[in-house]
């Protein structure tokens, strides 16, 4: 009876055809053009005037010496649904190709269907660890097109909430990075501290994540009564705990062996790849939009830009740890200097009227109705606004046709661009180092795939 065998074999062919992802997959060396091959080993410095070094891509290496394997998209250390195709020589990584798109939900297209009032609810879901900063980038773009001046208190509230958000985001990074290198206590501590911040967000905005708190024109609600005490407790606790992390991780020999000198990056490479944020600062480039191209009131507060030297995993860790401390400094100054006044613009075309006014004023009712049905109109034009997210430059390119909805909403997601450094960082390292590379590049897949 040979029939079952034949049927099984043809079934296997069909299965293979069904599961093949085609050209997005890492192909054998013989089937890959040299430009693409160079990209997959991360040879970024072959700019004009440089030619690709054949030794770099081992063009002569036969395909049967190496093994192409798949890591992800549901691997516990890939922080979501990142899929990496690795070409391995034994334990060592030769080529890497990130395959993304598993979380793509067409958020830029959705953004064209939502009015500017609703738009913040969409962008806040992109980078789910720093929702406030996403909303801020979008709102600043809309306000620039409107030519709207935001009240001073709103600016300072935005700045304080952004920094609290940055702390929360870096704390999650500390937690997941700890998990990746085997420090499960750090996992619990990071989430424990982040809980303090999320509780304050819930008290202020009503939600823990995806807050829709920063909106065009200001913020959704004023800070709650007694917020100074809450924020001071958060700052005191987290600052103290960062020194506990020092004891737990920074000097810990196993942790240092996994981090120090692993996956170094040079400044030229980081710039060529468009990397920003801690990834770029770890190479020694002191580029932080909060300092170099200030927005909000960052030019009025005192903080340091943390810069690394070697661009290795440990520098990226140290930068994030110290950025938590710098954020604490900024938040403390916000508590001291928070101005009084309006928390949102009083322009009735942009800001809905207070609830109590709707019952007694016809104009307020009309404005409320217009705002929440049609939304406000934004003058035609296009703008690019950039803010510093915990992962780098978060840009928002907005095109308006003069209507109540964006004509085009494009978000320059820092993780999406930073992810291109992964093949370079992984080259030559072992698979266990690959885990730490994914971790320290810190991609947020919601933002990568949008």
């Amino acid at each position: 009876m040979s029939e079952p065998t034949v049927r099984a074999a043809s079934r296997a062919d069909i299965l293979a055809a069904e599961t093949s992802e085609g050209a997005q997959e890492l192909q054998y060396r013989t089937a890959t053009p040299s430009g693409e091959l160079g990209r997959e080993v991360g040879a970024v410095l072959r700019l004009e005037g440089h030619t690709l070094d054949p030794r770099d891509i081992d063009v002569d290496r036969p395909d049967d010496e190496t093994m192409i394997i798949n890591m992800g998209p549901s691997h516990p250390s890939t922080h979501g649904v990142l899929r990496l195709m690795l070409e391995l020589d034994g334990e060592f990584v030769l080529r890497t190709k990130p395959v993304i798109g598993y979380l793509h939900t067409g958020m830029e297209k959705t953004g064209e269907e939502l009015s500017y009032v609703q738009g913040a609810t969409n962008v806040t879901r992109m980078d789910y660890l720093s929702p406030i900063i996403n909303e801020l980038g979008f709102s600043m773009a809309v306000e620039t097109l409107l030519g709207l001046q935001v009240p001073e208190r709103a600016t300072w509230i935005r700045m304080m909430m952004s920094e609290l958000n940055r702390m929360a985001s870096h704390l999650v990074w500390m937690a997941t990075n700890g998990m990746d290198v085997g420090s499960t206590s750090m996992m619990i501590y990071g989430f424990r501290e982040r809980e303090l911040i999320l509780a304050f967000f819930e008290k202020t905005a009503g939600l823990r994540m995806n807050l829709n708190y920063v909106r065009p024109g200001g913020v959704a609600a004023d800070l709650p009564d007694g917020w100074q005490d809450d924020v001071t407790v958060i700052c005191d606790t987290i600052e103290e705990r960062t020194y506990e992390y020092d004891q737990l991780l920074t000097g810990q020999p196993i942790f240092r062996q996994r981090m120090v000198g692993v996956a170094p990056l040079m400044a030229e490479e980081a710039l060529a790849l468009g990397a920003t944020g801690p990834l770029l600062r770890s190479t020694g480039v002191a580029w932080d939009l909060r300092r170099t191209m200030p927005y909000l009131a960052y030019d009025q507060v005192d903080f340091d830009v943390i810069v690394g030297t070697y661009g290795d995993n440990f520098d990226r860790y140290a930068i994030r740890l110290n950025e938590i401390r710098e954020s604490v400094r900024i938040v403390r100054q916000c508590v001291e200097r928070m101005p009084a006044g309006d928390y949102r613009s009083q322009d009735p075309k942009v800001t809905p009227p207070p609830r109590a006014r709707i019952g007694e004023s016809m104009e307020a009712l009309i404005h409320h109705f217009k705002l929440f049905t049609e939304g406000f109109h934004v003058p035609a034009g296009e703008v690019y606004s950039a803010v510093e997210s915990p992962r780098g430059e978060l840009g928002c390119y907005l095109v308006s046709d003069g209507g109540p909805k964006p004509w085009r909403l494009h978000v320059r997601a820092p993780s999406f661009v930073n992810l291109q450094a992964v093949p370079l960082l992984m080259r030559g390292g072992s698979v266990s180092d690959a885990i730490t590379v994914i971790s320290t590049v810190d991609p947020i897949m919601g933002e990568v795939d949008r």
Binding site: E21, G22, A23, Q24, P33, G35, E36, G38, R39, V44, R46, L47, E48, I100, G101, H104, G106, E108, K109, E113, A141, T144, L145, L271, A272, L273, G274, A275, T276, V285, W287, T292, M293, A380, G381, E382, V383, Y384, S385, A386, E393, G395, Y397, V399, D401, G402, W407, R408, H410, R412, F416, V417, L419, Q420, D449, R450
Partner: protein, 163 residues
């Protein structure tokens, strides 16, 4: 307003831009040379490459001499030494095709693939112009304005499938 780098192709149309120092409007042929001139002039980082579909747009404000086409490719460059941004808006044609900046800024690789995937812009010279976010076998480019949104695929017997 900044001055154009000396090697920039001439004539070049400039305009003020929101969120950047200046917008440049090169032709498709000038695009690559202009970006190269800016790169040599100290614009170290290519922040962003994206494409916009202006099909059905009521009319955008463009300086004199720029012939609007349906697609526009927008590149944002950043100079760290000068702390300035410059925006390059190239009219990419009705069948969009521009030169890839991959040889100048390798970091545009993913952004150009995204613009190809979602908007259908062909970047000539790109090493691996494949879909990046959408599934490999997807038909059409979802961010185009003539792409149906929320369309429920209705299957009729013997009829060609959706998309």
């Amino acid at each position: 307003m900044i001055e154009l780098p000396p090697q920039a192709p001439q004539p070049m149309i400039l305009a003020e831009a929101l969120g950047a120092d200046v917008s440049c409007f090169p032709t498709r042929e000038q695009y690559y040379e202009l970006v190269r001139a800016f790169k040599d002039d100290g614009y170290e980082l290519c922040s962003d490459v994206c494409a916009v579909d202006y099909l059905g747009h009521p009319g955008r404000a463009l300086p004199d001499g720029v012939i609007p086409t349906r697609f526009e490719v927008v590149t944002n460059l950043l100079s760290m030494s000068k702390a300035s941004r410059v925006r390059i808006r190239v009219q990419a044609g009705d069948v969009p095709e521009v030169a890839s900046l991959f040889n100048l800024y390798p970091g545009v690789e993913a952004m150009e693939r995204e613009a190809f995937d979602l908007m259908g812009v062909i970047f000539t010279g790109h090493p691996d112009l494949t879909r990046i976010l959408m599934p490999e076998e997807w038909e059409g480019h979802p961010l185009r304005k003539d792409y149906g949104v929320g369309r429920v695929p209705v299957q009729f017997k013997e009829a060609p499938g959706p998309r």
